[in-house]
């Protein structure tokens, strides 16, 4: 684990925090949005907010694939799962997301054959093992997970498997960033850009952010030192009056991304004209459906789906949280009616959701810090 330890080194963290304090303009309140749920999780899990000077605020963005799935799509998934003869496969996080009437876990308790898988390949393996069942894979995620769905579909086609379909809810990262930049109720000073998505799409798709909107963006890794260093790089840009796309996550992200993964995505998927995002509404060309060549594997074509749009509960402010307009605790139901056990909104479900991260790790004053050595034993 030496590789990971290097990126969690407290000495290096102290040096970066000192550098951040030096470059931060004390007379200015700076709002930086971390796009990914993975960043949000790291920030809370390692207690990074408390290390930053008070004038540097981190705003949590929309990049949690579980959080952005609208309730109607969850209902469609449950409808599929309840079909006789269907084995419905899903990543673990999605199983607790509430739809209009319960979650996939509830459907499982009622007798639906819902199985947790760790990759779409596991779902395909079930289809091969149980040829008399219809195996459906609930595909969610940004460009990070879409290539593995695509590879699985290529393999399913090559193997001539006919009892495997994909319910695609794959989304793309650039449209929601643009939607947030177009949103009138938010003033941001810069972005910690997506890390793992960028290993696939590269850094170039973000060039519109500085060019058209005048905001700097730094592609950021997910270890705590990555986050601190990216914050520092953004503050240096602001201090020097620069505004560009920079790459902090150089150990895995190339400017051009991963051309092979992009080619596979282009072969297997097609952009939908529009797709509903939880809290953000319909966004044009923001999601992927299966390309016509793969229509035989498209669960939306093979099965009848209700496809009903379900409005979010009135009390739920996930949209405002996802756009970074409000902090999780500002939502009226946060932590009282909406908790990780009884989530109302998606942001409380996934460990990468801003509300769950804040509830599980951050229910302390932002400045609360225990600095002394609690493990020291008195000499007797």
């Amino acid at each position: 684990m030496k590789f990971v330890d290097e990126f969690r080194d407290p000495t290096a963290a102290r040096a970066l925090v000192a550098a951040i304090r030096e470059v931060a303009d004390p007379g200015r309140h700076v709002k930086l949005m971390e796009v990914c749920g993975g960043h949000t999780h790291t920030i809370y899990r390692h207690g990074i907010e408390q290390l930053l000077p008070p004038g540097v605020e981190l705003v949590h963005g929309p990049g949690c694939p579980v959080c952005v799935i609208p309730m109607g799509r969850v209902d469609d998934a449950i409808h599929l799962a309840r079909r006789p003869g269907v084995v419905f496969t899903s990543f673990g996080d999605m199983m607790r997301v509430p739809g209009g009437d319960g979650s996939l876990l509830d459907a499982k308790a009622d007798g639906a054959d819902v199985r947790m898988v760790y990759s779409p390949m596991d779902a395909l393996a079930i289809a091969e093992r149980e040829p008399d069942r219809e195996v459906v894979f609930f595909a969610v995620g940004f460009e990070t997970t879409a290539p593995s769905t695509a590879v699985t579909l290529l393999r399913a086609r090559a193997a001539g498997i006919t009892n495997f379909t994909v319910f695609s809810n794959h989304v793309t990262i650039v449209p929601p960033i643009k939607a947030i930049l177009d949103s009138p109720d938010l003033q941001l000073d810069g972005f910690l850009g997506p890390g793992h998505v960028s290993t696939v799409v590269g850094n170039r798709p973000y060039e519109f952010v500085p060019r058209d909107y005048g905001k700097p963006l730094v592609t950021a890794g997910f270890e705590p030192l990555d986050v601190l260093q990216s914050v520092h790089m953004l503050l240096v840009q602001l201090a020097e009056g620069r505004c560009e796309v920079e790459n902090q996550y150089t150990r895995v992200v190339r400017d051009e991304g991963n051309p092979r993964a992009l080619a596979i995505l282009a072969e297997v998927f097609t952009l939908r004209p529009h797709f509903e995002w939880r809290g953000l509404g319909f966004i044009a060309q923001s999601a992927l459906r299966l390309a016509d060549d793969f229509a035989a594997f498209d669960a939306e074509l093979r099965f009848d789906l209700p496809g009903v749009r379900v409005a979010d509960p009135k009390s739920c402010q996930c949209g405002e949280v996802l756009k970074g307009v409000i902090k999780p605790w500002q939502c009226k139901v946060f932590g009282t009616a909406c908790t990780p056990e009884t989530p109302i909104g998606t942001c409380m479900v996934s460990s990468e959701g801003a509300c769950a991260a804040y509830y599980n790790f951050g229910r302390l004053d932002a400045q609360y810090l225990v600095a002394d050595d609690v493990t020291a034993l008195p000499v007797v």
Partner: protein, 361 residues
């Protein structure tokens, strides 16, 4: 936009008030969450079992009950069911686990475990060679722990009604006169010790299931700890409270302590002993080792002045070489566990909700 909260302190207060409420049973049937050890389990126990059986011994809902026979003779009684899948895993089988689990529950109550009863629920078709392997492993564990299996029962069910073999063990132990371990003894300033590396059992089981396609040499830590408890109490008689950090891991056990006492606990992440391979597997799967089950680790609370003696006694025991002081009891923050992150920040360590599910990206 709807109305918003504007005072973070008020929000924290409202959240704590909700958290103090008795857990409520929702829905109309049992789900897997009711067996996962979190709030749903507590609601089920409270609303169904305690409601029906209510009495003074049951009311604390501890891992076992302390029963007075005469003025100076007390016994402890504990029962547990073992349904681990797969029943054979690196480091043990359901047989040794069934002995260790009940022996350790008794030891944590200050009892010297003596007798076990064993119930076997067998699936039609389960091979005799497999059953012999489980039972031989069970007997070895009993001999090592110094307990005798004195009675038992066997039932066989249809193929569809069970998976291999399930074992229930009920144990009885004797509590030496004058010995008392209880949460109400815990004081601010006490030290929190864990008797070895975290998360080995849970990760060994997850990997043994095979659906992660991950190969790593992680063995379950399942072990009898009654001998260690005796050594510990001899060296540090003022020990306040002991729990075995099984389902839900060290994070859950320490949360149960702060809920029982109203005190706070500060843990130091850098002090948590974790095997490098286990840590790597947890990291890869996005699982926090604080919440992963152990079957051979205790959390011990001891007054600071006996901390050194306690630590030395545990480390001298064959199952305690990696023991460490991991934190301290504080008056504040009340009823809350916080963690000093290795990175220099501070965060809350909450009760876990449901089973740990790997993150998806």
């Amino acid at each position: 936009m709807a109305r918003l909260n504007d005072d973070p302190d008020q929000v924290r207060g409202a959240i704590e008030a909700v958290r103090r409420r008795r857990p409520r049973l929702t829905g109309d049937h049992v789900t897997l969450a009711h067996g996962a050890g979190g709030k749903a389990s507590a609601a089920l126990t409270d609303s169904i079992f305690l409601d029906a059986f209510r009495n003074d011994h049951l009311a604390p809902l501890a891992d076992g009950a302390v029963l007075g026979l005469t003025d100076d003779t007390r016994i402890a009684m504990s029962t547990d069911q073992f349904v681990v899948s797969p029943w054979r895993f690196p480091g043990g089988t359901v047989g040794s686990l069934a002995v260790h689990g009940t022996v350790n529950d008794l030891a944590c109550m200050g009892a010297r475990p003596r007798w076990l009863a064993a119930g076997f629920l067998l699936q039609e078709g389960f091979a005799f060679t497999d059953l012999r392997e489980v039972v031989d492993d069970m007997q070895r564990a009993a001999v090592e722990a110094g307990v005798t299996i004195v009675t038992g029962d066997t039932k066989v069910v249809d193929r569809d009604a069970a998976d291999g073999v399930y074992i229930t063990t009920t144990g009885v132990g004797v509590i030496p006169a004058g010995r008392r371990l209880a949460a109400d003894l815990v004081q601010p300033g006490d030290k929190v010790i864990v008797t070895g590396t975290l998360a080995d059992h849970g990760m060994a089981i997850m990997l043994a299931r095979g659906d992660l396609h991950l190969d790593a040499d992680i063995r379950s830590d399942t072990a009898p700890l009654n001998g260690m408890v005796e050594d510990l109490l001899a060296a540090a008689p003022a020990v306040r409270w002991i729990r075995d950090a099984t389902r839900g891991g060290v994070g859950t056990v320490v949360n149960e302590l702060v809920q029982a006492t109203g005190l706070g606990v500060v843990l130091a992440e850098r002090a948590l002993p974790i095997d490098r391979t286990t840590a790597g597997a947890c990291d890869l799967l996005g699982i926090d080792p604080l919440y992963v089950a152990n079957e051979g680790k205790l959390v011990v609370v001891v007054p600071a002045e006996q901390g050194r003696a306690a630590l030395d006694a545990i480390r001298a025991h064959r199952f305690g070489a990696d023991a460490a002081v991991i934190g301290e009891v504080r008056a504040e923050p009340a009823s809350t566990v916080v963690l000093q992150t290795a990175f220099g920040g501070t965060r809350v360590v909450d009760m876990l909700v449901g089973d740990p599910l790997p993150r998806i990206c």
